[in-house]
């Protein structure tokens, strides 16, 4: 149990958060929205709202970095 926890603390969080960033990045390459001028809220294209949501998701991802893997060290 102790070893599993140490491994998780050492690598697990980094791997999980790295995967989160890779997924968010590839979601930004939204090829499925190409050539689709579908209008959404306030007449803006729907895919713009998608990009906005994805960019705001980055705030949560950065929060995860700060909370789980960015440990402060006194130089």
């Amino acid at each position: 149990m102790g070893l599993r926890r140490s491994l998780w603390n050492a690598f697990g969080k980094q791997v999980l958060i790295s995967c989160l960033f890779i997924i968010i990045f590839f979601l930004s390459i939204d090829v499925w929205n190409w050539n689709k001028p579908i209008l959404g809220l306030f007449g803006f294209p729907l895919w713009i709202w998608y990009e906005i949501m994805l960019t705001l998701t980055l705030v949560l991802a950065y929060f995860a970095v700060i909370r789980f893997i960015w440990t402060e060290e006194e130089p």
Binding site: F21, F25, L39, F42, F44, L56, L58, V59, Y62, P75
Partner: protein
Amino acid sequence: MILVLIAILLFFLLLLVIGFIARKKSVDTAEDYFVAGRSFGAIVLFFSLVATNFSAFTFLGFAGKSFTSGFGQYGIMAFGTGFMAISFYLIGRKVWRLGKIHGYITPAELVGKQMNSTLLKYVFMAVLIVFTVPYLATQAIGAGMLIMQLTESVISWQIGAVVTMLVLMVYTFLGGMRGSGWTDVVQGILMISALVLSFVFVAQGLGGIQAANAASFQQSPTLFSRPGLDGYFTVQIWFSFMILWLFADPMFPQLFSRFYTAKDEKALKWTMLCYPAVVVFVFFIPVVIGVWAHVVLVDIGPSEIDMVLPMMVQLFAPAGVYLFVMIGALAALMSTADSQLLSLATMFSHDLPFKKKNQVVKRGRLFIFLLVFGAILFILLGYDPSVGIMGTLVKGTFSGLAVLFPTVMAVLYWEKTTALSCISSILIGEISIFLFQFGFVDSLGFLPAIWGILIATVVVIFGSLVENKIRQTNTS
């Protein structure tokens, strides 16, 4: 006209006063002058990074580009720049720690000293200088153009550019990084307020957001989808830009140097957290106005495209608001230019092998003066930023700097990295950018920078592995 001149003078005076106050608070040590004594808290660091990163291109260029291509401009800039903020953790955190431990104040110094290689330091520094100097000159010309537009050609762009350069020279000369950081806060707030005001008045003038979008859509539906009006946003270009900012932005010496200025890691953390939240709406405004411009601006010449945002504001907002927005654009431009000026002066005065080590601040101030003098000379000699080798360098700035990213990451994270592999990575990366940029090799629709980064990464990894293997063989 008098009101316009008074407003510009008051703005300049405010910046000079801030520079003077920063001077009063400073002590004449290299650490205090060049990196503000590593004292910037979250608010100053955040605005400093925002104002330094968001140049006149953000303010004027985005609107121009969305006018020609459509909403696609928003996606590549907002998400790409928001994603770039992860570099505050990947690079900023390490740079800040190493700076605090070893007293580093320039990017080249860190890379060179960590690898114990003077040659690597100079190669790294040379790339930074080659791609930053022409960019600084274009900022000066941009400022001149804005002042000429504001004063309806009463003041020529040359005089406008020279005066702007002299003002930013004085406050940077006086206040160093502290002056640059504090003016960034004022310039950043001005820039953001000007954008918000622009949005409110233009939207109101076009009958509301929904009506403005409907009218633009009726004009050109392709503005609302990709690949866009001019077919620019292919999937390859989209992918390239989404990833480019992460590699290029932190390599700008004026941004890299900001990492040293943080008071603590909390300041870096807060800046990283707030960055996407700000870009998501700051970048939205110029792009939207650029798209909406299709409703009212029909006959726009190629030379006027970057003035689409001011033209729209002039059409729909009172004169006072238009003046405020133009000063906001000037602020965006100056905040980038003063940071470039300081970072260049820091590199020249600190990284070059001068004998008198204790006169680094005096030398830094001298280089600020010389760089501004050089930029003014360029302007007065009729330098055209769009042609010749300088034009090529400006166009290639992002690609040229992005090639440095693999070296920085290898130096910060991989103990097997060798100086020779870093030098090879930078040189081969730059050569490959040149070959892709000028069509000697087909880039398959991607930006040349993507290939340059890939090649530079492969070279630094394999170069280091091979060199380590040879060393091991020789030892045994």
